[in-house]
């Protein structure tokens, strides 16, 4: 059987060898294990032996020639049966050469870039927090004033500290702008409006206030707060946040209540667990909240905890408003001015105190039908103020 005798690999790191001299000539017989030739390796001369009994037919490589591992050296006529045909060796992996010589350009050590513009040093945590709050870096850099910006600075800025310096107000305007732009960009809003007969609620508040001192006086808006909070516990998809591609329902209703800042700007700190608190408690908390906003002592947690927001321009005499959702929330309720308005009941024309409620909600989470059910629930709750 005609077989090729290949240069064997004698070491894991042996790439090839130079044939120095043949120990057998064509026609010679050779026994298994008998040396056939001597080769020169990096470690010295080594005899390589035949794996089989047989006869040398032809020498394929002249002494002095360098050949890679696996290269045919001779042809043998091998006696059948003694030949141990092992499956061919796996393709020889390209020998790993030493570190490729670096291209000339790479060897040049990079010249130090000219002193980088002194960018504001900002911690990773602050950077992430700013993103969460929709604060543009430009606003922060202005407000940073050259020092290191940490989470605390970001939250302080985002809490619209009272409009002290003008650049703080500019920064705040930039913040609101950025947040609203992001909301418009990312959230598919749908809008609903609904007129509500506020008369029963108004009468209830008037009777309540008449029986209480000015300190315990209620504002009509607090009833709306409670009604909205309760409705959000009954209809799915309005209290919670949307991030990482999906809606995370909140187990509770922390109702952000929009409070206009003196001199411009807006903040909506949360009345925590509004759905569980009675109206007088909500009034006391809301009153304290406004006082803290006026004095600029907002705690950062307070203003990021809101799971739904209620905004009202009633005081400014606007009938209907179409608000923008405050991300990462998924809905916002607008309350217009409560005004005397013609109202038809049992085909009779009367005059009622009418409130126009509006809802802006995230179409990724809910659709018009449940939005409508939500507003009607608020209206039904306001129709029975005793139950709030």
């Amino acid at each position: 059987m005609d077989v090729e005798f290949l240069l064997p690999s004698l070491g894991a790191d042996m790439e090839g060898a130079t044939l120095t001299h043949w120990l057998k000539q064509p026609g010679d017989r050779v026994r298994r294990g008998e040396p056939l030739a001597t080769v020169e390796t990096t470690k010295g001369l080594i005899d390589i032996e035949s794996y089989d009994d047989g006869q040398v037919l032809q020498l394929l490589v002249q002494p002095g020639t360098q050949v890679p591992v696996g290269h045919p050296l001779a042809r043998l006529d091998v006696e059948a049966g003694s030949h141990t045909a092992a499956a061919p060796a796996p393709p020889v992996a390209p020998p790993v050469t030493g570190p490729q010589t670096l291209a000339a350009s790479e060897r040049v050590t990079p010249t130090p870039t000219e002193a980088r513009a002194t960018h504001t040093r900002m911690s990773p945590a602050a950077r992430r927090r700013a993103h969460e709050l929709g604060l543009p870096l430009s606003a922060l850099e202005q407000a940073g004033g050259g020092g290191i910006i940490h989470v605390a600075e970001v939250e302080k800025l985002a809490a619209h500290a009272p409009a002290g310096s003008s650049d703080a107000r500019v920064a705040m305007r930039a913040t609101i702008g950025a947040t609203m732009a992001r909301s418009k960009r990312e959230i598919p809003h749908y809008y609903l409006a609904h007129d509500v007969d506020f008369s029963p609620a108004r009468e209830w508040v008037t009777r309540y206030n008449a029986a209480h001192t000015v300190k315990e006086r209620l504002l009509e808006g607090v009833l709306i707060v409670k009604a909205v909070a309760l409705a959000a516990t009954r209809i799915e998809g309005f209290s919670g946040t949307f991030h990482e591609g999906r809606f995370h329902p909140a187990g509770a209703v922390h109702l952000g209540t929009a409070i206009a800042l003196r001199g411009g700007g807006l903040v909506a700190p949360a009345l925590l667990d509004a759905h569980q608190k009675d109206v007088p408690t909500l009034m006391r908390e809301f009153s304290a909240l406004v006082e803290r906003v006026r004095a600029g002592h907002l705690r950062s947690g307070e203003f990021t905890a809101a799971t739904l927001t209620l905004t009202s321009l009633g005081a400014d005499g606007v009938d209907v408003l179409y608000p923008i959702i405050n991300p990462p929330q998924v809905a916002i309720v607008g309350a217009g001015a409560i005004r005397e308005h013609p109202w038809v009941e049992d085909r009779q024309l009367t005059v009622r105190a009418v409130l126009t409620l509006t809802l802006a909600a995230d179409h990724r989470v809910t659709d018009g039908r449940s939005g409508a059910r939500f507003l009607r629930t608020v209206a039904d709750l306001l129709a029975d103020p005793q139950s709030l």
Binding site: P162, T206, N209, A210, T213, V214, K215, R217, L219, G221, I259, A260, R262, G263, F286, S287, V290, E291, R294, A295, G314, A315
Partner: protein, 86 residues
């Protein structure tokens, strides 16, 4: 308590509710809500402050009397006088 004392006291209460108000520049007859961008909570806080400072009860219907500084002064003065006589 005479009219002047009531005046200065009321100014102090106003800046308590809205720290950014400049007491000297208050127009006595102009509506406070428009002049200082008061919302309904600010108005309530002012009413409560007046009630506690002067020890007089302010019903919801009296709210209109506190609409501007001058009428507020007059309202407080009257209430204090009627209190002394009863």
């Amino acid at each position: 308590m005479d009219r002047n004392q009531i005046h200065t006291q009321l100014l102090a209460l106003l800046t308590g509710v809205a720290p950014d108000i400049d007491p000297d520049s208050v127009d006595p007859v102009r509506n406070l809500r428009d002049q200082f961008d008061f919302d309904s909570m600010d108005a309530l806080h002012f009413a409560v402050a007046v009630s506690e400072t002067f020890g007089i009860e302010i019903a919801e219907t009296d709210a209109a009397a506190l609409a501007n500084l001058q009428s507020a002064e007059h309202f407080v003065e009257q209430r204090l006088l009627s209190k002394e006589h009863t």
